[in-house]
């Protein structure tokens, strides 16, 4: 009896061993790959090699033709055979109205090229990063996907999951889109922006007037601005709407308005990430001090509201101002349609960085994946989206400014849009500062700092700056390869 039990146990153990061996073998593909050099200085030449440090994979080799690259708008899509293109994106979650526009674009493209079928799948913003990471891990999924600029898209480029614009687009397509600064790395662009988000401060001028202020004279200095906020508050009106529960309100206030003020160029932020000290950096501390100065002027329930719920306070006429966020044009239009007198302003400067007075902008667009077997067609579709009539239709559908120079800014239909475009061209470009920092600095830095400030749990700017420093030290330790990637990103 004992013998048979032993045998049964032995059989079970043998089965387990076999399964473990199978599991190890199946999961061992990563180890089986050639040893990884430190990306991106010498990235792993696994198959296919990461694009930036190695020759493009054979299937994605740009096909040179006379007079052009043969890519993007120059690619002969009709000759590509039957193609099923998978497009993953966030649709209306990012830009209300864009899904209807994209449906039309897909229909038009498929009509022009009956050999192509495009399947667009919409994902949720909250699961977007893991969706992309999982696809990258398994080398399957979309042919092209939506992405934000900066680290969001470059993280995937550094992991070898996407190909640069230069491998899928004609030089003319790339030249027609000047908004690629945020994703230039290794001399190449890694996202082709489709539209730009801009970040003004949106003002309910009726409430400004109600507070006894002149709605036609926005404050020009920091002192004037805080004095105006105090007067608005004294009139019983909450000056600025903020929702921090999901963290995004803090990011929008920081990256859209405050962080940029000390910045001269993107490398200032990258260098701080690589080896700077957030706790002692004067520029970083300066904006945090201003954040504390603004604290009394936010709605007192900011921590228990999501960003959207905070925005709703402004939309319901309960606050005088709100920091502009993605989709600001549609928010403005809805308010105007409801009879609100809407004005715009820029955060008055308090520091002397070259970005201080500029309106922050950031480009969103598409990347083509490394594993796609239809890179050229994906590139052609990206170029198609940027054609003049399609860019104009995008503006009509969403109110967002198309990133391509194929779109004529003079066609902007509302005074607020014209105002924003004027500001964009006036003081030079300023970008979304959080695009040059790791996600961790957002989630465990900015989200936390704003929430703690509103809860009265941070003593001052120095304590807030220390939170950032603690986060970045942990991040550097956990991500030595990415620190090197940031290093190689300097000067791009």
């Amino acid at each position: 009896m004992k013998g048979t039990r032993r045998l049964a146990i032995a059989a079970a153990l043998a089965l387990l061993t076999v399964l473990l061996a199978v599991a190890a073998a199946c999961g061992g593909s990563e180890e089986a790959a050639p040893p990884a050099a430190e990306p991106p200085a010498e990235p792993a030449p696994a198959e296919p090699p990461p694009p930036a440090e190695s020759e493009p994979a054979a299937e994605s080799e740009p096909a040179e033709t006379a007079g052009g690259s043969g890519l993007g708008s120059e690619f002969d899509v009709a000759s590509a055979g039957d193609v099923n293109l998978k497009l993953w994106w966030l649709g209306d979650l990012e830009a209300p109205g864009i899904e209807a526009w994209m449906d039309q674009m897909i229909q038009d493209f498929q009509t022009e090229y009956p050999n192509v079928t495009i399947e667009a799948t919409t994902y949720d913003t909250n699961t977007w990063i893991q969706t992309q990471q999982t696809a990258c891990q398994s080398k399957t999924g979309a042919d092209l996907w939506y992405n934000w600029s900066g680290t969001w898209s470059l993280e995937l480029a550094w992991k070898g999951c996407t190909v640069p614009n230069e491998e899928v687009l004609a030089p003319a397509d790339i030249e027609a889109n000047a908004n690629v600064q945020e994703t230039i790395w290794d001399g190449k662009g890694w996202v082709l922006p489709l539209y730009r988000f801009v970040y003004p401060i949106v003002v309910n001028l009726d409430l400004i007037e109600q507070a006894g202020l002149d709605p036609n004279t926005p404050p020009a200095t920091w002192e004037e601005w805080t004095a105006a906020l105090a007067e608005i508050k004294a009139a019983g009106i909450t000056p600025i709407a903020l929702g921090l529960k999901d963290g995004f309100g803090g990011e929008i206030a920081a990256a859209g308005q405050l962080e940029k003020q000390w910045v001269n160029q993107p490398d200032d932020i990258k260098q701080l990430v690589i080896d700077g000290d957030f706790s002692t950096d004067p520029g970083w501390n300066a904006w945090l001090e201003k954040m504390f100065e603004l604290q009394p002027y936010f709605n007192d329930d900011a921590n228990s509201l999501t960003f959207a719920e905070g925005l709703a306070l402004w939309q319901n006429g309960e606050t005088a101002m709100v920091f502009g966020a993605p989709g600001v044009q549609s928010v403005i239009k809805a308010a105007q349609d409801a009879g609100v007198n809407v004005g715009l302003m820029r955060m008055p400067p308090f520091d002397d960085g070259e970005w201080a007075e500029s309106l922050v902008q950031t480009g969103q667009g598409f990347q083509v994946t490394q594993w796609s077997e239809n890179k050229e067609v994906a590139g052609a579709f990206m170029a198609f989206l940027q054609e003049p009539e399609n860019a104009a239709a995008l503006y009509e559908a969403t109110g967002n400014f198309p990133a391509t120079s194929n779109w004529d800014p003079a066609s902007a239909s509302s005074p607020t849009d014209q105002q924003m475009l004027e500001w964009l061209g006036e003081k030079g470009d300023a970008y979304w500062a959080a695009n040059y920092t790791p996600v961790d600095l957002d989630v465990n830095g900015t989200f936390v700092v704003f929430q703690k400030m509103m809860a009265g749990e941070l003593a001052d700017a120095a304590a807030a700056a220390q939170v950032y420093q603690d986060v970045i030290e942990k991040w550097r330790e956990a991500n030595p390869g990415t620190v090197e990637n940031f290093q190689s990103w300097l000067g791009s």
């Binding site: 048979t4 045998l7 049964a8 059989a11 079970a12 089965l15 387990l16 399964l19 473990l20 599991a23 999961g27 990563e30 050639p34 040893p35 990884a36 990306p39 990235p43 792993a44 696994a46 198959e47 296919p48 990461p50 699961t127 990063i129 893991q130 990471q133 990258c136 891990q137 398994s138 080398k139 992991k159 999951c161 921090l244 529960k245 999901d246 007192d300 329930d301 900011a302 921590n303 228990s304 509201l305 490394q370 996600v439 961790d440 989630v443 465990n444 989200f447 936390v448 700092v449 929430q451 703690k452 509103m454 809860a455 749990e457 942990k474 991040w475 330790e477 956990a478 991500n479 390869g481």
Partner: protein, 300 residues
């Protein structure tokens, strides 16, 4: 001439080996579903995980060292520890409510339904509803305000948020305990209660000397299940109600794993935290098995 197997050998094959062979496909399936992810988890916990194109790198115990010196990880564990306070509260409330329902108070069937209802509502729905109710200017504080009490920022203050979540968890999980205890009480021979009544035992005496001893196995089962829940099954409450905030004050170990793995994409560190959590929970499961055997051995 063909060799005829010995009858004993035939029996052995039929009785001992054959069942395993029949079960083998299912066992393989189950092992692949459960064992493979576990093996991968352990493997990742010792790696700096790459991508489909960048090879992973073996880093020994670095990931574990990282999390053990990360104050946020310990904060997360401490929050799980705080949530463990739900367990005695749940046991006490479940015992009282189950006893009252067992006494068949007027309308007990309706009460039983009401008590159990929260348990079948999905956690995200509960989280969203209570998220609204507990806003600083939400319904709860409006109600308190109407009687002259200024309510706190239930979910927006670091000192209140974890306790508010605890209250919601207790509200949601209570129904399960009541049902488990009630089912146990119904299975107890009526003679015991009858004898206690004849002996003049009051409600409290019956609770202490009859109900509680009879409930012991159910209490033990419920305590262990809820303990495991508080350690590794509260992510949805946190994700929906506070997203770990304000200021990371409600981050629990599951949320920490989520942050590291999916937000910061340091999969190895997330895996190391998951292995640590798994170890904690495994110890509790072993404790449960040991305690159950002890209780059975004592003949309770």
């Amino acid at each position: 001439m063909p060799r005829i197997p010995h009858p004993a050998h035939r029996d052995f094959m039929r009785l001992r080996i054959q069942p395993w062979l029949f079960c083998a496909p299912l066992l393989v399936g189950v092992a692949l579903v459960f064992l493979w992810p576990l093996v991968s988890l352990f493997r990742y916990s010792f790696q700096r995980v790459g991508s489909g194109y960048i090879a992973s790198e073996f880093v020994g115990f670095d990931n574990f060292r990282f999390i053990y010196k990360d104050p946020l990880f310990w904060k997360a564990i401490a929050n799980n520890g705080t949530l463990l306070l739900c367990v005695p509260i749940l046991i006490a409330l479940s015992t009282i409510l189950a006893t009252l329902l067992f006494d068949r108070v007027r309308g007990w069937r309706a009460y039983r339904t009401f008590v159990f209802l929260p348990y079948i509502v999905s956690i995200p729905v509960v989280g969203i509803v209570f998220g609204y109710l507990f806003q600083k200017n939400g319904l709860v504080n409006s109600a308190l305000g109407s009687i002259g009490i200024t309510g706190p920022d239930w979910l927006g203050s670091s000192s209140w948020a974890i306790w508010t979540i605890m209250a919601v968890i207790v509200w949601k999980e209570l129904g399960f305990g009541v049902m488990v205890f009630l089912a146990r009480l119904i299975s107890v021979p009526e003679d015991l209660f009858e004898a206690a009544r004849i002996d003049g035992a009051g409600w409290w005496s019956r609770l202490r000397h009859v109900v509680l001893p009879q409930l012991a196995p159910a209490i033990l089962f419920y305590a262990i299940v809820e303990t495991i829940t508080m350690l590794s099954w509260v992510f949805a409450y946190i994700y929906v109600m506070t997203a770990g905030g304000p200021g990371n004050s409600t981050v629990v170990s599951e949320y920490y794993i989520y942050q590291q793995t999916f937000q910061n994409t340091v999969i190895g560190i997330g895996a190391a935290a998951a292995v640590t959590l798994l170890a904690f929970v495994s110890v509790l499961i072993l404790a449960r098995i040991w305690l159950t055997r002890r209780v059975e051995a004592l003949g309770v």
